[in-house]
Structure formats: C-alpha cells, structure tokens
Symmetry: C2
Subunit: 109 residues, 2 copies
C-alpha cells in the first residue's frame, strides 16, 4: 500500500483520513457513527490507562489508536479534520486571538 | 503567526503539534498531563453531543478541539503523533496486515 505522505515522509491530517479510509472505509460505512464512537471511547479509556501507568511506547500507540478512530468517525460523517483544525486554530488562539495564548487561566488554562 | 503547513496548505500531524506548542506550550507545561486529560475529556463529551445533535460545523469544531487537546497531551508527554500513527497503521491494518482490513468483524469491526 502506498500511504499518503509528503516527500519528507510526513503525514497530513488529510493523508491520515485517506489512509484509514483505504484500510477500513467499507467496514466503517456499515458500522455507522454511534457504534464507532463506542470504539473510540474504548480507545480513549485505554489512553487514560497508558497515561497513568504505560510505557512511552504504549502511550504513543494508544494516542495513535485514538487518532485512527477519530479519523474513522470523521470519514463516516464527512468531516475534513485538516480544514476543521485550520479554521479554528490556524490563525491564533480562538479565545484571545493571540500567539501565544494570553487567555486568563481561570477561563482557558 | 506562520503556521506550519506544506506548500499545498496541508497540515501535518507534526505541524499540528508545533502549532499547539507555539500557542499553548507554556501553559501546557504548567498544567501537566492529568489536568490536561480532564480538558480533553470535556471536549470528548462535547464531541458526543455534537455527534448526536450538532450541525456539521459544530461537529467539525468539536473534532478540532479533541485533536488540539490530544496534541497538547502529546506535547506534554513528548509523544510524536506522526511517528506513532505511522508505526502502527503506516503499512497496513495492525490486526490482519492487509489493506483493506480483512479482520473478522467480531474481533475488529
């Protein structure tokens, strides 16, 4: 399989979604969004475990799983993660409009 | 701020982490991983709400928030999301080693 990477070997958010689509798209469409959220939540719980007591490698793998299931959910619902992130965070902090963020820590830590 | 995008305007996972680091890195280091997980979890709950009853734009924005807080957590714990995803999913399905995945749906839907 030829995954969608840049010449530098870097993976874009769009590339991640295409990679997951090629690998799991057919099954994802059958499963649907609610059932997919259950799987995402299971991985989210495993991330908590790894955060508390996992090795660095286990923590990285659980973050990868959360990303993969989030990409799956985005594919099912037709959301472009890259556009969504750039729209909200691409210019500056959405709260204070500054970089770095100067929001009051009580409001946005 | 010059965000880290490719010439095509696409955002890599490494670029996302650098963007969040520039915007929130100092506060993130002070807050730590456990408190950051609480914020990530709050956004995860908002994602569930948007999935159930939000508009397409609200759903996209909640996915962006989950990604941003996951990138924050990765920054705090020194995890490279891009490397983690490519290590686990970059060749094929980690379960069956195939593209597309042919795992038994009962085991991996």
């Amino acid at each position: 399989m030829s995954i969608d990477t840049e010449s530098t070997g870097s993976l874009t958010l769009s590339g991640l979604q295409r990679m997951i689509l090629q690998m799991y798209g057919e099954k994802d469409a059958v499963r649907g969004d609610a059932a997919t959220f259950l799987w995402l939540t299971e991985e989210f719980g495993e991330l908590a475990s790894a955060l508390r007591s996992g090795t660095h490698e286990e923590l990285a793998a659980e973050m990868a799983d959360v990303l993969a299931w989030l990409a799956t959910l985005a594919n099912i619902r037709g959301v472009e993660l890259e556009a969504a992130v750039l729209r909200k965070y691409g210019r500056a902090c959405p709260g204070c409009q500054a970089v770095p963020c100067v929001c009051d820590p009580a409001e946005k830590p």
